[in-house]
């Protein structure tokens, strides 16, 4: 799967899950500052991503993730380790 496709699907899931317009969910968008997501929102968003992509994202791996792009990278790394940034 191409990273752009992953990014698109991640953005769509996050927009739906965080109840924000899809155009706001850019790769640069920061969860807390730009998308008004608190820690519980993030846990639920990760659940939705895990469901969508059939991957497992341990809590500790989300620790440094601040932006949508970072989340998409993390998902990509789970799908195909070679695409890891």
């Amino acid at each position: 799967m191409e990273i752009t496709e992953i990014q698109e699907r991640v953005s769509k899931i996050l927009a739906e899950n965080l109840s924000v317009p899809e155009e706001k969910v850019t790769p640069e968008a920061r969860f807390q500052e730009d998308l008004d997501a608190d820690s519980l929102d993030l846990v639920e968003a990760v659940l939705a991503l895990e469901e969508e992509f059939g991957v497992s994202i341990p809590e500790e791996e989300m620790e440094g993730v601040r932006t949508v792009g970072q989340a998409a990278q993390l998902v990509a790394s789970k799908l195909e380790p070679s695409t890891q940034a």
């Binding site: 965080l18 109840s19 008004d36 519980l40 846990v43 659940l47």
Partner: protein, 409 residues
């Protein structure tokens, strides 16, 4: 002594949302009971309920809030916003404004949904919002957030008396100077297969399949209550402030009586002793003799036991005057909204005081020798109501009575 008045009423109910629609429906004897729409009832012993249909939580909460809160919270926020608007959106000191939103059960639909996730997908898939969605106090917290009120904030869970306790305790907060205004109410969103099954197993629900005729308080053929959902909220204010801003005052909250049956966890004490104690305590606080009671909005669930015991209690508390007092159960139209009932019915008693008309007990056809009062059968009635009582009795043996009096400085 500080006095307390009702300046806003916000009903979200099976017979209508908003005070005008709600009140008109009750005076016209409209039933809010229907065949259950929100889930499949084919396996259930009871297939009717009072559901709040035509309700959009998005009208009252942001899309994100809607997703992260239970239906019980949606109703509570809507009722509170309606009541606040009805009160003319008073300017208040947020630190001196309290919120008491009661419930009988809490966010059961959310709990059940997440339990299914746990069973089917495992613990790693359970929502982090499960706990804040299921907790009974979520509504009181969310209403405080909606308005920014930081005064006393609680949730009282006393089953079917919960809404009445909310009104009574909020009245006391203001009366004793702990707050200047309060939103007081109850909410319930427990029309679900599990609750239908549980209440049916207790033989508490009527098996009458005819939606509009099933809830028949005080009628000889009554055989159980009809489960329903919704919320009711009142705006209570310290009287001088309400008078100063010139807002319409529905009624004064004049007294409140609370007691326990200490008898059985679900059955009422058959002589109505706990209810009598609550009625007498309410009259005492209001400083009114039994003869002053012009109307009683009864708990009147339509179960054989409640309606007989409540009738005995009213007769004991009011003496011979009981036979001259119109007593009606609006649950004949709304069904039993459990933890919301007491709040919505305190609102009905306040409306009766303000409007000089009392809503009927519908489906009243055959008198029962155990229920021999004037139940305002089937037609609303003009009554000059100076002082009214609202009764609520809950599983657990909780009794609460609120007294509402025409405002007079």
């Amino acid at each position: 002594m500080r006095r307390v008045v009702v300046t806003g009423i916000g009903p979200v109910s099976p017979v209508g949302t908003g005070v005008e629609r709600f009140w008109r429906a009750l005076l016209e004897g409209t039933s809010g009971i229907n065949r259950i729409q929100r889930f499949d009832t084919s396996d259930l012993p009871v297939r009717i309920a009072g559901e709040v249909l035509e309700f959009s939580p998005e009208d009252w909460l942001t899309p994100k809030e809607v997703k992260r809160t239970d239906r019980a919270v949606h109703f509570a926020v809507a009722a509170s916003r309606l009541a606040w608007r009805d009160a003319g959106e008073p300017s208040v000191d947020p630190a001196r404004t309290g919120v008491i939103i009661s419930t009988g059960i809490g966010g059961l639909e959310s709990l059940l949904k997440q339990h299914r996730v746990l069973m089917e997908k495992g613990p790693d898939r359970v929502s982090p919002f499960m706990v804040p969605m299921l907790m009974p106090n979520a509504a009181a917290g969310q209403v405080a957030m909606a308005f920014g009120f930081t005064g006393p904030n609680t949730c009282i869970t006393t089953a079917c008396a919960a809404g009445s306790h909310a009104v009574g305790e909020a009245f006391r907060l203001i009366k004793y100077g702990l707050a200047d205004a309060c939103i007081a109410g109850g909410t319930e969103a427990s029309v679900l297969p599990l609750t239908i099954a549980g209440f049916a197993q207790m033989q508490a629900l009527t098996r009458n399949p005819d939606p509009e005729r099933a809830s028949r308080p005080f009628d000889k053929a009554r055989n159980g209550f009809v489960l329903s959902e919704g919320a009711g909220a009142l705006v209570l204010e310290e009287a001088e402030r309400a008078v100063a801003r010139g807002v319409r005052i529905y009624a004064e909250v004049a007294g409140y009586g609370a007691s326990a049956d200490a008898h059985h966890i679900t059955a009422p004490e058959p002589e109505g002793l706990g209810a009598i104690q609550a009625l007498q305590a309410c009259l005492a606080e209001a400083g009114e003799p039994p003869e002053a009671v012009d109307y009683v909005n009864a708990h009147g669930t339509s179960t054989p036991l409640n309606d007989a015991a409540e009738t005995k209690a009213i007769k004991k508390a009011l003496g011979d005057h009981a036979y001259r007092t119109p007593v009606s159960s609006t649950k004949s139209m709304t069904g039993h909204m459990l933890g919301a009932a007491g709040a919505i019915e305190a609102g009905i008693a306040a409306l009766a005081v303000a409007e000089g008309v009392v809503p009927p007990t519908t489906n009243y056809e055959t008198p029962d020798e155990d229920c021999d009062l004037d139940y305002v059968p089937n037609e609303s009635r003009r009554v000059d109501v100076r002082f009214a009582l609202s009764n609520a009795f809950g599983f657990g043996g909780h009794n609460a009575v609120v007294g509402l009096r025409r405002w007079s400085a």
